[in-house]
Amino acid sequence: MSLDRVARERLVRALAGAVIEHADELTSLDQAIGDGDHGLNMKRGFEAVLAALPGLADKPLPEMLKAIGMTLVMKVGGASGPLVGTFFMELGKALPEQPSRADLVAATERAIEAVKARGRSEAGQKTLLDVLVPVHAILAGGGDAKAIAIEAVQAADRTTPMLAIRGRASFLGERSIGHMDPGSRSASLLISAAVETLEFEVNT
């Protein structure tokens, strides 16, 4: 996978655009089972990421990802800032400037472990890990961009009947059942945006 400056900027704009365009949807998902700030928080974070362009895309991929992660950590507020921010920062630490698919598999695995540690959580607790973990399995198994995007959407859907065990929704106990996890939805949006942008590179 080779990402030149233009591709890096396109990637950043796609990630931010996906979150910002769906901010209202994320907020209404969070109003159902959380504290209703997920859309606003993520939007604030990614607006700050956009504001760091064009300089952000001048950085090599690892540095760019670390900078995105740090911006999210500092700007998002709420638990999703450290969780999503940690994911990007760890990706940045693990990926070389021109990553192969194997590099991407290894780096996302490391980033997922860091998210688990940060949230003291595992898949199955109605969190973004319920998207990250199954999507990683598709990536590791050789799935193409389309298969990854489909799994991201379906994995987020599968959080709807789950009982929340971590995060604010866990306060609701059984009442968390029947609503999609907002963090899973935003993770799914980010993954879809990323693979759409990287579609031509991800299989090389």
Binding site: D37, L40, N41, R44, M74, G78, G85, R118, G167, R168
Partner: protein
């Protein structure tokens, strides 16, 4: 807000609401006095309800003590953001800052009471956490 008494463990109060954080700090001051370094932070970067890492880092700096700092948090993001802030501290400070699993208002008062008697960080954390355990 802060006051310096280098021997005692510092207390940081982190709430989604700046009013709660400030109010809890007022209670600590009234009930425990000025014997402990104390700081509070609350709200997201736009001033709405939430917590933010930069504010927490600043509060840790304000309440810093060589004896360490105990952080009291309210809900979810306050804890996650506090843990993130601790990890971003210089390495020599990291092990001397602990996030307490205790109710924010009561925990802050109890932790500050324990600290005011000169107890070490681990004891300050333990008494905050044991009160409601």
């Amino acid at each position: 807000m802060s006051s310096l008494r280098p021997g005692n463990v510092g207390i940081v109060i982190v709430s989604h609401s700046p009013k709660i954080a400030e109010g809890a700090a007022d209670m600590v001051r009234q009930m425990v006095g000025d014997a402990v370094p104390l700081a509070w932070t609350g709200g997201d970067v736009d001033g709405g309800l939430g917590t933010n890492v930069a504010g927490i880092l600043e509060a840790i700096e304000t309440a810093w003590s060589p004896a360490g700092v105990a952080i009291l948090v309210d809900l979810g993001g306050a804890e996650t953001n506090s843990e993130m802030a601790v990890e971003m501290l210089p390495e020599d400070r990291r092990a001397r800052v602990l996030v307490c699993n205790a109710p924010v208002v009561e925990g802050a008062v109890i932790a500050a009471t324990e600290s005011s008697g000169g107890s070490p960080l681990a004891a300050v954390k333990r008494s905050a956490e044991e009160f409601y355990a």
